[in-house]
């Protein structure tokens, strides 16, 4: 069952979520352009991208955010994510292998909610950070 039942009492600072790994392809970029409605040609038109001085087409920032986000919701549960923010630090390129890195950074209780803070990153095979961010989930306590 993939609906994660992360419980506040069982989670510890330093815990790591399962990694999601994906090799980015040009087909991913085309599929994401259609699914998201973002048709900036730098993400699907190789001729235009190279004419603009880019080595090739490159990934949408929001694809990186969404891919990392899916690993976060797999870990904390889809309905529990309350806050997710990222900085787009590097472009992603076709054939790069992207890996999600999610670590529990803190636990706190606020306004009657038990909150888990996560340090979240998307890195390539060389360890270069593509996206760096934070996420917060309101998770149930074990009863």
């Amino acid at each position: 069952m993939s609906q994660q039942r992360l419980s506040f009492d069982d989670v510890h600072v330093g815990d790591q979520a399962p990694e999601k790994v994906h090799k980015l392809t040009r087909t991913d970029l085309v599929r994401y352009a259609g699914a998201s409605g973002d048709f900036n040609p730098m993400h699907h038109d190789e001729v235009l991208a190279t004419a603009a001085g880019q080595p090739s087409v490159f990934g949408h920032g929001m694809f990186s955010m969404g891919f990392l986000g899916s690993a976060i919701t797999d870990y904390v549960g889809a309905g529990n994510l309350t806050h997710y923010k990222v900085r787009f630090s590097r472009q992603t390129w076709p054939n790069e292998v992207l890996t999600t890195k999610i670590t529990v950074a803190g636990k706190r209780s606020e306004d009657g909610h038990d909150l888990v803070d996560l340090d979240v990153r998307l890195v390539n095979a060389q360890g270069e950070e593509k996206v760096i961010g934070e996420a917060t989930a309101a998770v149930p306590s074990a009863s």
Binding site: S36, G69, D74, L81, H83, K85
Partner: protein
């Protein structure tokens, strides 16, 4: 020097980017399916009524990070907005259009997304219709960044759910205020001046950073001969085999007789300056500025756009010019035109 619109930009902070935007479609299974497939997200609560109910949602929910997709206006509307912004005398545009035009006028013509920050009040359910209001939240002073000198612009987008919206394509602020807040997204972009990156000054000689290469031409079966020709030291011009009309830039067919058959002739490289512009910005790192660019009427009888190695103060329409083929790197050789004395010495 570019314009400084600090005051006009400061006056836009806190203002709405534009009118409220109504999501083109209600939250729906088809769009969710495309999105989770693109993401490789296999969480069943996004596609299976049963799994979503078992998980306590009472029905299928949308992935939280899909938020932005519900209000994307689509390619057609984006292209229309782009051409509206390109109009020199835009009066009808939104405050967002005005802000972007002011930043462009400051020479900050390049854009990159730097941050995205999303707050979710609750999961979105199938059938919900979303409406957003966008506010220009912050425009910074000029910052030096790894990409170039620019301003960071933060836009806050508030999402509300309106159950009884029906077919309305637009709504008033009052109607939006009655909606249920479901999410907030802040999106930060950097609008920067290309070619002004930290440490990107173009220097020659040892120790300096390597000069970026010129943009590559998009090569096709019709134009490849031109760039192969310049590399081989020849300025080649396309000629129609049927009616012998010259044409440039290269095209598949003759505009005069329609023939698809063509060959090339080698131009002498001499001609006269038909027209010119001097580019000051946006600055692209592989070029020197001010950058004079000419439309040259070749003596063979067609015209060609090329760089001019002539002091902008000396440029005159009709002046005689001659091409030199300059290699910019291993792949790229292009004609660059020099001025010639008005009356050439034709004698021995």
């Amino acid at each position: 020097m570019s314009a400084d619109h600090s005051e006009e930009l400061a006056a836009l902070v806190g203002r709405r980017s534009g009118a409220p935007q109504v999501a083109p479609d209600a939250v729906n299974l088809a769009m969710i399916r495309h999105w989770v497939e693109a993401m490789g997200d296999e969480n069943p609560v996004y596609l299976s009524e049963e799994a979503a109910t078992d998980a306590g949602f009472g029905g299928i929910v949308a992935p939280p990070t899909m938020l932005q997709a519900w209000i994307m206006r689509g390619l057609k509307a984006s292209l229309e907005a782009e051409s509206r912004r390109a109009e020199p005398e835009t009066t009808a545009g939104s405050d967002n259009d005005r802000m972007m035009a002011l930043l462009d006028d400051e020479g900050r013509t390049s854009v990159v997304a730097t941050n995205c920050d999303q707050h979710y009040v609750r999961p979105l359910r199938l059938g919900e219709r979303l409406v957003t209001t966008s506010t220009i939240e912050d425009i910074t002073a000029e910052k030096k960044t790894g990409l170039g000198e620019g301003r960071f612009v933060t836009t806050r987008i508030d999402f509300v759910s309106l159950p009884d919206l029906g077919e309305h394509a637009s709504v008033s602020e009052e109607v939006v205020a009655a909606g249920e807040p479901v999410a907030t997204m802040r999106f930060r972009i950097l609008k920067y001046r290309p070619g002004t990156a930290k440490g990107a000054e173009v220097r020659d000689g040892d120790g300096g950073p390597a000069r970026p290469r010129r943009p590559r031409p998009a090569l096709t079966q019709d134009n490849a001969f031109f760039f192969e020709g310049t590399r081989a030291g020849k300025l080649l011009i396309q000629r129609c085999v049927s009616c012998h009309t010259l044409r440039h830039p290269p095209l598949p067919a003759c505009a005069v007789c329609g023939s698809l058959d063509w060959d090339t002739v080698q131009a002498s490289g001499r001609g006269e300056l038909y027209s010119f512009v001097v580019v000051h910005y946006p600055k692209v790192p592989s070029f020197d500025y001010p950058l004079p660019i000419g439309l040259v009427a070749l003596e063979e009888g067609t015209r060609l756009v090329a760089d001019l190695a002539i002091d902008p103060a000396e440029l005159r329409i009709g002046m005689p010019v001659e091409a030199e083929l300059v290699s910019f790197d291993d792949e790229l050789t292009l004609p660059v035109f020099h001025g010639l004395p008005a009356e050439r010495d034709e004698g021995g």
